[in-house]
Structures are given as C-alpha cells and as structure tokens.
C-alpha cells in the first residue's frame, strides 16, 4: 500500500498512466495509431524536441532558464552545414564534433553572463537569443541552404529493427531516435550518479547552501549552460538530417513547446526538481497527443490551444498538490 502510494505520488507514474490512457483511447478511434510505422514516425518527429528538452531540463533543475537554445541550434546548424559544404569534406561525426564545439561556445557565453551579472537567466537568454539569431540572419541574409551533404539524410534514414511494411518500404526505429534515448540515458546517469550532476540539483535548491557545502558555483553554472548549448547543437544536426535543408527560421520559436514538455515532465521552474525520465515521458505524451490531432483530423490551428492547456493544466495540478500538502503541516503538537 505504502509503496503503491509513493509510486502514485511520483510524476513519472502519473505521466505513464496518462500515456497509457491516451494510447488506449486514441487506438480505439484510429486503427493506424498502433502500427509500427506510425509509432516509429511519431518518435522520429519528436526526436529533436526530445533532445532539446534534455538541455532545457538541466538548466531548469539548476533554477535557471534558457530560451536561447533554439537560436544556438539555428546558428550552429548554419555554421556546420556551411563549413561542410564549402571548406571541408566530412562525415556525420565531424558534423557532430563541429556542432558541439559551436554549441559549447555559445552556451558558455550564456553561462558567463548569468554567473557574472546575477541577472534573471530569462532576461539574459532572451538577449543572447536575439543576438545570436540576429547576427546570423544579418550575415547569411536569410539564405536557405538547399543542398546539404548526403551523409546527413543518410544518417536520419538509417533504421534499426527494420521490417518491410505493406507498401513494400522499410520501416523501423530511426537511428536519430536511438541517439535521443542514448543521450537521455547518459544524462540520467550523470544527473543521478555523479557529483557534478547532483551539484546541478544543489544549486537549484539554493546557491548559498550549495556554496556552503563546497560546490564550485561558477564551474557548475558554466558546465550547465555549456552542456545545454552542446545538446542544442546536437539537436540541430539531427534536425537538419531530418529536414535536409537549412532554413534559418525553422527552429527559433520552438522554445516554449520544449519548456512546456519539461514542465509537464515534472521539473519545477523554481529549481531543484526534475528527472530525465519524467522529461522523456513528457515529450512522449506531447508526441502522442499531437499525433492524435493529425489522426483525428483536427486542424493544426488547435495545436497551440492544446499545448497551452497542457501547460496550464499541469502547473495547476502541481499547485493544488502543494497547497494540499501545506494544509497538513503540524505547527504545534496540540495536547488532547
């Protein structure tokens, strides 16, 4: 009983429950939903969001905020593809290495500004978002890069567990989705089992308290924002591999959706709380519900209504739970 209650109190269990219910409901309306094809497609189309959400999770656990990651991804994508088209003949690994380097540089700039000027991270990252994005647009004049090197789409097309579907085409779990899950696993381990990962939680609870137990605040903040930049960069390479074109405004604007998924996954904006598993489940719930809009032929105009309602709904549930908890605090052991 006790274990059951504890499990039920966990955000992850609640999300898994919701996912299960949605799957059952949607599957009863649409035969196509549970097909192998559809499932792998849903996963692939939400892989970029899934990767971005890991970086945002890291930042939110530390009590910070990052809305610049889309701009970092956008800029990185352009630089990497441009370099690989004009200066280097490379492969997907070189693309990732270049991207990660570029992402870390921009992420570190965020980290330095946030640590040094002690301003709310949202203001700093709004500023850097516009700076990164604006400068890129000015330099590139918004030109699209249509012809990306072929190894990008080969990467996104690679599948494992492939079978031949009824149309005679290969279908299977995309390698990019595998990359997402592997990254999730790595960061779950880092956050759970390393001192550095735990320091992210410590800072999120209270910077003063963290400093008092000897956490190096500066290095940890630089780590958080540097890694968040790198994750955004990895996401951008996956994005261009799937889309096969560099469109300079195709990523910026997705910030809120990613943040929403992380919040839905149980991370607390005030810091110190959140898990990779919860975030992955949050993204999955998003993916399933958005796919159901398509399957049920609901206009895509409803998509934002839907995300907004989910954000408001999930924060309301959190808030109500906290209010209930507070009511039960024993201030005085009253004698009977």
């Amino acid at each position: 009983m006790n274990i059951f209650m504890k499990l039920f109190k966990k955000r992850e269990t609640l999300l898994a429950f919701f996912i299960a219910v949605s799957v059952v409901v949607i599957a009863s309306f649409s035969d196509n939903f549970l097909s192998y094809d559809n499932i792998t497609n849903i996963l692939k189309s939400f892989t970029v969001t899934g990767i971005f959400s890991i970086g945002v999770l890291l930042v939110i656990i530390s009590g910070g905020m990052d809305v610049s990651f889309t701009a970092i991804a956008q800029v990185t994508q352009y630089i990497v593809v441009y370099v690989l088209l004009n200066f280097l003949t490379g492969n997907i690994y070189i693309a990732f290495v270049l991207a990660i380097a570029s992402g870390i540089v921009m992420g570190l700039l965020n980290g330095i500004l946030i640590y040094h000027y002690k301003m709310p991270a949202i203001i700093i990252t709004i500023a850097t978002q516009n700076m990164f994005y604006g400068i890129m647009y000015v330099i590139t004049r918004g030109k699209l890069l249509y012809e990306v090197p072929s190894f990008f789409w080969e990467f996104a097309d690679a599948k494992i567990f492939a079978v031949i579907n009824q149309n005679g085409a290969f279908t299977g779990l995309s390698v990019v989705t595998v990359l997402w899950f592997v990254m999730a696993l790595i960061f779950a381990i880092i956050l759970r089992y390393t001192i550095l990962g735990r320091s992210v939680y410590l800072i999120g609870c209270s910077q003063t308290a963290a400093e008092r137990v000897g956490v190096n605040i500066r290095n940890t903040i630089l780590f958080i924002y540097g890694v968040a930049g790198a994750i955004a960069a990895v996401g951008s390479i996956v994005h261009v591999s799937i889309v096969q074109t560099v469109i300079p405004n195709s990523i910026v604007g997705q910030e809120m959706q990613v943040i929403a998924a992380v919040v839905l996954g149980g991370a607390s904006i005030s810091g110190g709380k959140g898990s990779v598993l919860g975030t992955v489940l949050g993204v999955l719930l998003f993916a399933i519900l958005s796919n159901s809009l398509t399957l049920l032929r609901i206009s895509s105009y409803w998509y934002n209504v839907f995300i907004g309602s989910i954000i408001i709904g999930s924060v309301t549930i959190n808030a109500l739970r906290e209010i209930r908890q507070r009511k039960h605090i024993v201030r005085v052991n009253v004698a009977e």
Binding site: T194, Y201, G204, A209, V213, G214, S268, R331, V332
Partner: protein, 500 residues
C-alpha cells in the same frame, strides 16, 4: 587540552565599515564556547570567516597549529569546520541520505555519487544522535526540528572537529532543545569543539564552558561560565544594565475589550479562552511550539482559526483576513521586523501610512502626499525616532528605531487591541526601555489593551497585569498580577520541560 583553532587579530571591513576589529581567541578541543552579541555585533561575520566563506582583511587563523590565510568554504569543511546556519542550509528536494552525504563527497573530490555504501554510515550517525528519521524521506517533508538534526548529522559525517551552531534553538520545542543539548555534550566528550550562538543567554549559561561577548565588532570579554552569570553577560552585551519600569495599575472595572472563547485551529492550538480589559497588558509566555505565535496570527487573521469566538468590545467578529482583524481594531507587531514588519527599502513615511491608506485619500481617491508626510512627521516626533526626514529609507535606521516605525504604523490606526510578538528582540537596551515607555503613554491616552508575547520572562514580569502560560497549543495557566514572578513562571515552564 590543546587548542583546535586559534584566531589572532582578525579584522574585517565592509565597504569602509568595520565589521570586526582585532579579534583574538582560541578554542580547545572538546570545548563548548558560547558566542553572544546583539544584532550587528559581528557574530555572523566571525562565523563566516571561521567557515571560510569570507576571508579576513588582516590577522591569522591557526587550525591545529597550521597557519591559514584564507581557505574557502570547501577548505573549511576539509579542515573539520562545519557550520549549521540558522536557515539550516539543507537541500529541501533531496533525500535525508543525500543531504547527509553530499558535502563529504564533494570534499573528497569524488566524481561519482553512489550513496549505497554510505547508507550504513549515515544511519549509524543518526542512530548515535538517538533520532529516528527515515533516511529516504525528502527533507522538505520533515518538520524543522528533524531538519536541524539532519544538518547536525551532516556535520558529523564530515568528520568535523569544530561545529558551529548558529541560533539552533529558535525553531525547536523545549523537548527538542533538551535533545540537542544532550547531543552537544556527547560531541564535547568525543573531543569535538562547539561554538554555540544563541540570543537566549540562559541556554548559553546552561550549555557552554566559556563565553565570548562581542559588541560593535570588538571582543568585549571572554570568560569561563563559572566566573560569570546571566545578568553580567547581558550587561556586557549591551554596555549598560536594563532597568525595568513598572506599568500603571489596571482599572479592574475597565470594560473588556477582547473576549476569546474556545478558539481552535487544527495542528495549531485548541480551546483558547481569555479576556482582555481596556488598559490591560496581558503577557503571553510559552516555549516554542506552545502555539503562542500561532494564536496571535489567528487573532490577526493571517492564520484564521477553525472555530471559536472572538469578540471585540462585546461584538462578535469574524476574523478571516487581516482586514477583518484590523477593522475590528486589532493590530499586530510581528516578531520578525525585517520580513514581516517593514518594507525595508522604502521610506519611513510609506511604511507608517501603509495600514491607514484610506485616511489619506482626497475626494478623487488620490493620496494626499502632504498629510502623509505630516502624519509621519508627527510620529517621528512623538516616538522620538532618530532620523532627519520621513523620506529616509527604513533600513537606514537602527533596530530600535525600526521597531518604533512599526509601532507608529499601528498607532496611526489607533487600535483597540495591540498584539506585540517579541517586540524587543535585537534592540539595544536604551531603545527597549523607550518602547515600553511609549506603550505606557499610549495605554494611558487611549486605553488600548495589549497582548505582550515574549521569551524574556523579565519583560513579562515587569510589564504584564496578568500572564497566560501556553503549553502544547493550550492555555496551561493564567496568572493574576500578584502571582507573576520569575520563579513561578520558570517553575511552570520547567515542569513543562520535564513532562514532555
């Protein structure tokens, strides 16, 4: 016994202000040292320097004979110095186990944080402390007292040789204080030094071997406890001794201004009943966790009661919000001036008029700046608040003058009942007397009833006409004037300590 730490000629300035001047002392292994001083005397700066969070401008620190200049918080922990700060400084969303182990893991420069192997060690420490806390529970779900114990367990897990306890008893009930004292004695016996900071001097006298007294950043005295006493320490802290003046006698026929009947709030207090006459000072005393502050907050509408009756001047009132209480004529001077009493970065004028804004509206409902200033000026004069203009920021005033601003805010409303929660904490002696002089005049002028909540028994004995002693959320006893004396009150409180 040899010295664990020796401090020589430490000084520290903050933007030109001297926070510490030329402090020297040492602590022996296994010694409990009390640290006393009024607010702003430099206690917290000294702690932070010892912990390595701040570094001194000049002077030397020797730890076990080795000379240090500055060592940083991690260095402090590594060398065996742990501080349990007043705000506890735990990580509320993490488990007890992790809170206990994390500092040590960081200190050892480990890369992985696998707690399995440390579970037994942490459990053993909690066991040694004689407490039963589920090691896997989340800290924010524990009561404050248990959190404090977790902080102590963390310090022990760091292999501390010096544990600094900064006001550890403020949030503890008497039973828990007793447990804490036992633990401290245990620590001393195993050779760990303790610095104990408390504004309750009787606790220092009870627990410590030696006492250091700080005033205005300087070390005034360092005495073995057996060569001094409570009164002397108090006098040394403030530089002069306090004279308690008596209140005027209350008119026994005066009408009842406040009548409280079977007031109850779950998990806060139960079945509270008393009455207060015009012009009467009703003392309320009780240990922490007795429900006295909760009761006051209920009367003021912050923490409304579940059931029971409150009647002001014979009319029953519903007190669900602060506005209800204030319109009924109840005012409350909170214990914590900085966070509850004043808006610190705003001018004195705005703070004084905040509770009476309706009075200053013109016919277009705009605020009349001039009459606001005049009202503030009037109170600056009446209460002799030392400042040159009501435009000055409240935080620029001394503690005593700040408290007078809080009083002015309520006196401007001319309340029927004024509740004062520990009104003289952190205020120097001269200002203390001043505040009671003001109350005396105000009682004489408009006959308000006063409820005085205080930890200082002397304040209660000197000023109250009747005294309520609270225990476990209930009224344990109401003492009439002639029975209010220190011995009697101490006896009742001690009896409570033992029965718990």
């Amino acid at each position: 016994m040899e010295d664990f730490i020796t401090v020589e000629n430490i000084s520290k300035n903050f933007s030109g202000l001297k926070a510490l001047r030329d402090i020297s002392f040492s602590i022996k292994k296994g010694e409990a040292l009390g640290l006393c001083g009024a607010n702003g005397s430099g206690k917290s700066t000294l702690i932070k320097i010892l912990a390595g969070v701040l570094s001194a401008d000049s002077g030397k620190i020797k730890i076990e004979g080795a000379e240090m200049v500055s060592y940083g918080p991690l260095g402090g922990i590594m060398r065996g110095i742990s501080v349990i700060y007043q705000d506890i400084s735990l990580f509320p969303t993490l488990t007890v186990l992790e809170n206990i182990c994390v500092a040590r893991a960081i200190g050892q420069g480990r890369i992985l944080s696998i707690l399995g192997s440390e579970r037994a060690r942490a459990e053993a420490i909690l066991g040694d402390l004689g407490v039963s806390i589920n090691i896997d529970s989340i800290v924010e779900e524990l009561p404050i007292a248990s959190q404090q114990l977790v902080a102590i367990a963390r310090a022990l897990n760091n292999d501390s040789k010096l544990i600094i306890l900064d006001e550890p008893t403020t949030a503890l009930t008497s039973k828990e204080v007793g447990l804490l004292f036992k633990i401290v004695n245990k620590l001393k016996n195993s050779g760990i030094s303790v610095i104990f900071i408390s504004h309750k001097i009787d606790e220092i006298v009870e627990l410590c071997d030696r006492v250091l007294i700080l005033r205005d950043g300087g070390l005034i005295a360092a005495k073995p406890i057996k060569d001094t006493n409570l009164e002397e320490i108090e006098t040394l802290m403030v530089g002069q001794s306090l004279v308690y003046s008596k209140m005027d006698d209350v008119d026994r026929e005066a009408p009842v201004v406040l009548e409280v009947n079977s007031l109850t709030k779950k998990n806060n207090f139960k079945d509270i009943g008393f009455s207060l006459r015009h012009g009467e000072v009703l003392g309320v005393i009780g240990l922490l966790g007795s429900g006295r502050t909760e009761l006051a907050l209920a009367l003021f509408g912050i923490n409304a009661a579940d059931s029971g009756k409150i009647a002001v001047d014979g009319t029953e009132c519903r007190v669900r919000t602060v506005n209800d209480a204030v319109s009924a004529g109840i005012a409350y001077v909170p214990e914590d001036r900085l966070t509850e009493g004043l808006v610190m970065n705003y001018p004195i004028r705005e703070n004084i008029v905040l509770a009476t804004l309706d009075k200053f509206k013109d016919k277009f409902t705009f605020l009349k700046r001039r009459s606001m200033s005049e009202a503030a000026q009037k109170w600056l004069r009446t209460l002799s608040i030392k400042t040159d203009s009501p435009d000055n920021i409240v935080s620029s005033l001394s503690g005593g003058n700040q408290q007078k601003v809080v009083l002015a805010k309520w006196l401007e409303r001319n309340p029927k009942i004024l509740i004062l929660d520990s009104p003289t904490v952190g205020i120097d002696i001269a200002a203390k007397a001043g505040i009671f002089a003001i109350l005396k005049t105000m009682i004489a002028e408009n006959g308000m009833g006063i409820i005085l909540i205080s930890d200082e028994i002397k304040e209660i004995t000197a000023y109250s006409h009747r005294a309520i002693i609270m225990r476990n959320g209930r009224v344990a006893k109401i003492l009439p004037k002639d029975e209010i004396n220190e011995e009697r009150i101490r006896a009742i409180l001690n009896e409570q300590k033992q029965t718990k």
